[in-house]
Symmetry: C2
Subunit: 453 residues, 2 copies
Amino acid sequence: MPSAVDVVVVGGGISGLVAAREVAAKGRSVVVLEARDRVGGRVLNHELADGSVIEAGGAFVGPTQDHVLGLCDELGIRTFKEHTAGDSVYVSRGIRQTYQGTVPPDPLILPDAGRLQLQLDQMSKDVPVDAPWLAAKAAEWDSTSLHDWVGQNTVNPDTAKLLEVYLQPLLGADARDVSLLFMLWYLATAGNEQNPGTFERSSGTENGAQDSRIVGGSQLIPLRLAERLGDIVALSAPVRRIEQLADRAVVTTDRGQVSAARVIVAAPPPLITQIDWAPLLPPKRLQLLQRHFMGALMKCDAVYEKPFWREKGLNGFGISDVAPVRVAFDNCPADGSPGVLLAFVGGATWADWGNRPFEERRRGVLEGFARLFGPEALEPIDYTEHDWTHERWSYGGPVANPGLGATYRFGDQIRTPFGRVHWAGTETSTYWSGYMDGAVRAGERAAAEVTAP
Amino acid sequence: MPSAVDVVVVGGGISGLVAAREVAAKGRSVVVLEARDRVGGRVLNHELADGSVIEAGGAFVGPTQDHVLGLCDELGIRTFKEHTAGDSVYVSRGIRQTYQGTVPPDPLILPDAGRLQLQLDQMSKDVPVDAPWLAAKAAEWDSTSLHDWVGQNTVNPDTAKLLEVYLQPLLGADARDVSLLFMLWYLATAGNEQNPGTFERSSGTENGAQDSRIVGGSQLIPLRLAERLGDIVALSAPVRRIEQLADRAVVTTDRGQVSAARVIVAAPPPLITQIDWAPLLPPKRLQLLQRHFMGALMKCDAVYEKPFWREKGLNGFGISDVAPVRVAFDNCPADGSPGVLLAFVGGATWADWGNRPFEERRRGVLEGFARLFGPEALEPIDYTEHDWTHERWSYGGPVANPGLGATYRFGDQIRTPFGRVHWAGTETSTYWSGYMDGAVRAGERAAAEVTAP
């Protein structure tokens, strides 16, 4: 590790690596300090027995995610469409139905769900992506839990249950945990400058946030970025202390100290408060960060010789009211082999299932897949799972969620530099916050800040 | 520092010191590791120019706080009644009124306030102090912000404003930041085994939580405890890492390592997650801790030759709808000299005023005192303030508050030992959580756990 550079980047996820790349492109010296012994943060490939690759972490990309898609192009990384040919499956109140399109065939829920979506979309237009705290109704919307608002705006309680299928993978949390304002902002950010975010784009597969995946696995993005950056990426270098002096910042890691004119911190909020800051983080920023918690999420994948569901005319997408498989995706590699089914186990479902013995959870997941796609699901050739709450350097996943009141009262601190310190990480993005695209955008913005003339 | 003891206590606040005392009384060897260069945590004396003492942190004690009062007795520490002789002052919508008793003379608010108090008291009886997550309506009550519930159960919006006067000093937070369940639990804990908590005891001065203060300042409690413990209290020893091995735990501080059979962690939740845990904290506990945030609170004191308000028949207690002085207390030392007025600036009021220049805030506070008690307040002989959000080893004050959903979903983790590690700190108490009494109780309980046969 060098003893002094122009810019230190804290965190070797996509956001930090992109920031380092942009800084280096401007001719500044830079080092990336990564706590783990690998790059990628919440993006992590998992190799199957046959050498094919699936993802243990963030995986999907889609339209309007121009920044991550552009980066893939540049790095020679290809995407492929998430498999959608065939029917989806909906299991509710013991009844299994297949359906096409985006709306589950549930006449008891449809009127509520349609109105809910319309309302959320309309209200989200009043939330500025770069300043949700300035929404006219910010105080009110940030004081109300999404749970209460949904309850007040639906007739059938099952509508709220259906929403869990969307929220638990999205946030690793539930409607009671977040405010209406945060939800509206999250929807507003599911787009780009030309195409405002919508519930459909956020929740959808085709043309939505789950439209496509990365050939070879999404971790190729940070891996290739790191490869190009070379030895300026220091692994196993957790940052313990950041001290700001009159003329420089000093960053202390387990592998020694680095001085820099500027620091970009590209880590999720709950990890930022663990650093020993001297001087202390500004109190309002400290309030904002403390009021974020990492979601709780695990991904459970069952592997089969082939995607048996496709032969039955099913696309591998399923929704169920029976835990632990509340939502399932076809997670096969690009060439469709082997067959892989993916279940997200997040939020309340994680709270119930995350601590159970491995065998019990494995059985529950396989039975859930069988309920949706047939008994073949009970006999996988492999089963693998990844629980992000067990990760020392993530503390959870997929994102950090602000508690009620945090956005309205302290949200304006999110990108405010602190002396020599600037902020990246997907949580700081104004579009596709929580996604790989947001990570890229945030890294680019932070790099622009520290290299501005 | 010894290299090995029976029990390591992390944190030299009242809770940690009490735990150490109880452990030592059982003949076990113990060391207290305190990050600061002083004991007392969120309890801190401030010496005035004439040598008299007021508190910068936790100060009040009252009936049913038997554990801290018993400890005071034992340590030869005396209490005195908070001054209540005379009228209180109420400023609202530009009108100033004096009143006696506990209820502000506001006919527009009275009906709402009365009903609210009754409802809260009744509902709090359904919340078990040792297991609020088991309340019959726990899921519902933890999904609703206190703000929304108050809005739905009052007619006059000013009632909610009046509630801020109580919440901001109590939690350093506002009704939008916490759930109804947490509020009900907090009320339920404002008592003891024989006397269930009530809103009146929680909010009240005479016979309430603000009944009395400590002669010489509340920090006498930790100071005397530490004095008796002697050199087993290690200051400036922030704990960086806790590793649990097969046969012992190893605690790493800036002053070296200590091995122990058991560890008692007596620190607020947001500081616990900063420790490098090996193995990592159990995921559910990590969720619980991450979902707590320290409140934001400062205490502002103006000092006068004498308590001029007493001569005017005022008791020094005041409520106002004009920030920054939303609530004021007589804060004179036991002998009434010098005169001291105290304002709590917390939650939203802190968010507005905490970052303003010192001179502007000082002026605002003095004007606030003048509005309540007369123009003499504008000419203090001294002015002092303490902002707990600036404290590296507190991150805020007075307490850590759980976000919505945290208690219901993860609350049952609060006292669950983690291998060799046990939990103290006022936040883990089942009575007077958030108070010095809760700190004593929690320390006693944790000590009993680690010394049980």
